[in-house]
Amino acid sequence: MSSARFAFAPALLGDRMHHARVHKAAGGRVVGFLGNCVPVELIHAAGCFPLQLPALPGPTPRADRYMEELFDPMARSVFDRMLAGELDLVDLVVLPRAVDSLQRMYYYLCELRRTGSEAVPEAYLYDVLQTRSYSSAEYSYARTVELAARLAALSGHDPSDAQLRSSIALYNRIRSALARLIERRRAVPCGFPGAAALDVFTACQLMAPTEFLAVLDRLLAAPPQTAAGTRVVVAGSAHDEPVLHARIAMAGGQVVGDHHFRGELLLGPPVDETLPPLRALSTHYQHDVVSARTFPGSVDGFVELVRSAGAQGVVFYYYAQEEALTWDHVEQRQALQAAGVPWLCLSMQPYPASEAVDAEVQGFLARISEGRP
């Protein structure tokens, strides 16, 4: 179990919705969301608790009634939990257009509510586009304004410009603290274990931002925690639990970079504090955050992450339901080849990782250690 788990208890050790429940019990509103393309700054500024809806690995019999096989497994799990009534504390679920599984889930939730077939929370589509054109930018800005109005109606609090700016600044401080953590993790030797780092990313969206930042600052004030092992970057499908990271560590590796939407791509670069706040948020989520729909895509960010992490190898891990990111694989692999970084591709995998990957991971790390990748 990672050291971060204790630091971020009870969010990571007990009830993942603990902090949201406390907020709700005090009369606040909870806004659930999924993915890395929902403006958490806006939710926080409206006085609501932004909660990345937690998945729970295991069977999903309720979701299976309505959702076809090829949905992201974390989305499927959350959908199942909604149908089971386990996420009833949520007042509104905001799903981004930016991820295909999530936008389809939005329509499913709306239909189940419309027909009265199931009691599920109200869903809202944040219709953010991610092609980098002027028309997409203008369209996304209008949708960001609409989301702000919906959140204000939900909470009864229409945040002022200053409050929006303050929320953006708070999340930028979180981005900066996470950047320090990433830097420590990428140091040689690695100064923050891979599993613990992923836990921090997960905790980031289970807690109120001020509370999270306070804990993270304390964690970063402590001396680095050196972690040994062959330096590995994990890429491909997103992970919210460090199961793969633990398996890689058991095999003698150490994850020093997470190139996925719940890892280092979670919050994106700092939001521009010089722009009008809604414009800044719209630009950030349309243009600056990398998602499955970012277009045109680029391999550069991936290559830079691998380089700056000093990775000795990359493990691509794709869920069986992953039909899109796999199309980036060949180009990423070619870039690694050019950089002389070996890679291992684990496709058609379950969520979360299982012991079935151990032999391949061990073999991969052994080849790196022996200098015969």
Binding site: L70, E111, R114, L125, F295, E322, E323, W327, S347
Partner: protein, 437 residues
């Protein structure tokens, strides 16, 4: 039938004279297209089916639909070869394969085995970003072809009108939303500018208006045929005849030939209704086919007629013509065109549009049971199927899912599938020896 024939696809039986003419026309068209783009090197475009082909038609730029090209490659039995190309290139197995056959053909770079010797460089390839894969597949393809990819966004649709099919012809601004229509108009203008610069050909709003009027005429004829087929007992035309007579004119929508052919098809349908001509000797079950066409085994649609008097009377291609193509009020033809294009994915694959339309169509056509194609390799194509199944079953229409692909015939066994559907009909539709009619 030999064992091998039993496993592989079979040809479908065609009852209408106009079906032969449609396929003959398409064959000739393909020859002409090949001459224009391969031999003469004219500028041309590759476009997904759910893009505004009308723009290319107005500018007299040949357009090749990716879905048509995929079905052409599949019909030439090249699917397995090309999927192997993608495997060898290193794309992991879960990569969506639906739209990627054309890319694989280009990557294969083998003029000896590729139809037309492979496609030459198009001026542009274009698609709407209806899923997370398509931008990647088309970006790779554009790079391999040495051309550019023009992407259309596919925004969400927050206004959900379950009875969209009743309102879409006239109230299309409300049904599809001004913001989404406006965005698509802007993007279409971008494509037009690009084509004008690249080809030197020009776009004319007046020409588009005339084309849109003619398309309305064509779609009204197809819509009338769909209504006749749904109302007639016995079913005068099975989907083996419906699909080519709807789709081939749809690729050429608004052309002289397409309008004339739609009229001819409608007339033949009318004639068969008047003669009480039926598809099966004795029609006992009316079936609905949900999903894309089974391009590698069209004979499957006729296989249950002799066994159970079961006739596939409904497939989306023909009845879709009315609600999704007809657009009244053409004062701003580009906006009307945008409304036709900008929600194709939602109405065909997402609730409440898909399920409510299918349930309404099942009622209209007197459907006894539905067979649903569920290609497990493609999220876009399978999405909405389970909720649609619930809606149909709640309306009293039993549904059977078939896990198969529309272009990839690996694992498909014609004989076994016929038996599978037959068992479903026997156990869930024909109860106690009593058949519905």
């Amino acid at each position: 039938m030999t064992d091998a024939q039993s496993r592989s696809g079979a040809r479908s039986r065609k009852d209408l004279a106009c079906t032969r003419d449609a396929t003959a026309y398409q064959r000739e068209f393909v020859k002409t297209l090949r001459t224009r783009v391969v031999d003469r090197g004219e500028p041309f475009a590759i476009a997904q089916a759910d893009t505004a082909h009308e723009i290319f038609h107005v500018m007299d730029i040949p357009v090749l639909s990716n879905q048509w090209w995929s079905s052409y490659l599949a019909a030439k039995q090249l699917s397995s070869r090309y999927f192997a190309v993608l495997d060898r290139a290193g794309y992991p197995a879960s990569s969506c394969r639906y739209c990627s056959l054309g890319l694989a053909c280009t990557l294969d770079a083998d003029p000896a085995s590729a139809p037309w010797g492979g496609l030459p460089r198009p001026t542009v390839i274009t698609a709407r970003l209806t899923c997370d894969c398509i931008q990647r597949v088309f970006a790779h393809w554009a790079r391999a072809l040495g051309t550019r990819f023009y992407a259309f966004e596919a925004p969400g649709l927050a206004h959900k009108d379950p009875a969209w099919f009743e309102h879409s012809r006239t109230a299309w601004r409300e049904v599809y939303g001004d913001a989404r229509i406006e965005l698509h108009v802007e993007e279409m203008k971008g494509l037009i500018r690009l084509l004008e610069l690249e080809t030197g050909r020009s776009f004319d709003d007046g020409k588009l208006g005339v084309l849109m009027e003619r398309i309305n005429t064509q779609e009204e004829l197809l819509d009338e045929a769909a209504l006749l087929i749904g109302a007639a007992r016995p079913c005068p035309v099975s989907i083996a005849d419906q699909v080519p007579n709807a789709m081939i004119p749809q690729w050429h929508r608004g052309s002289d030939w397409a309008v004339a052919h739609a009229r001819r098809f409608r007339d033949e349908v009318k004639e068969r209704v008047a003669q009480a001509a039926g598809v099966a000797g004795q029609e006992r079950l009316r079936l609905m086919w949900i999903g894309a066409g089974l391009w590698h085994d069209p004979g499957f649609y006729n296989a249950l007629e002799a066994l159970h008097g079961a006739v596939f009377v409904w497939s989306m291609y023909l009845p879709f013509a009315g609600p999704q193509y007809i657009r009244y009020d053409l004062s701003d033809p580009l906006r009307a065109l945008a409304s036709r294009i900008c929600a194709m994915n939602e109405v065909l694959h997402l609730p409440p549009w898909m399920n409510e339309w299918m349930a309404s169509e099942a009622r209209r056509s007197g459907i006894d049971a539905a067979v649903m194609l569920v290609p497990h390799s493609n999220r876009l194509s399978v999405s909405g199927t389970k909720i649609t199944r619930h809606t149909l079953e709640a309306a009293g229409v039993p549904v059977l899912e078939i896990a198969a692909d529309m272009v990839d015939d690996s694992g498909w066994d014609h004989g076994a599938m016929v038996q599978y559907v037959s068992h479903f009909l026997t156990s869930r539709v024909i109860r106690g020896g009593e058949q519905p009619r």
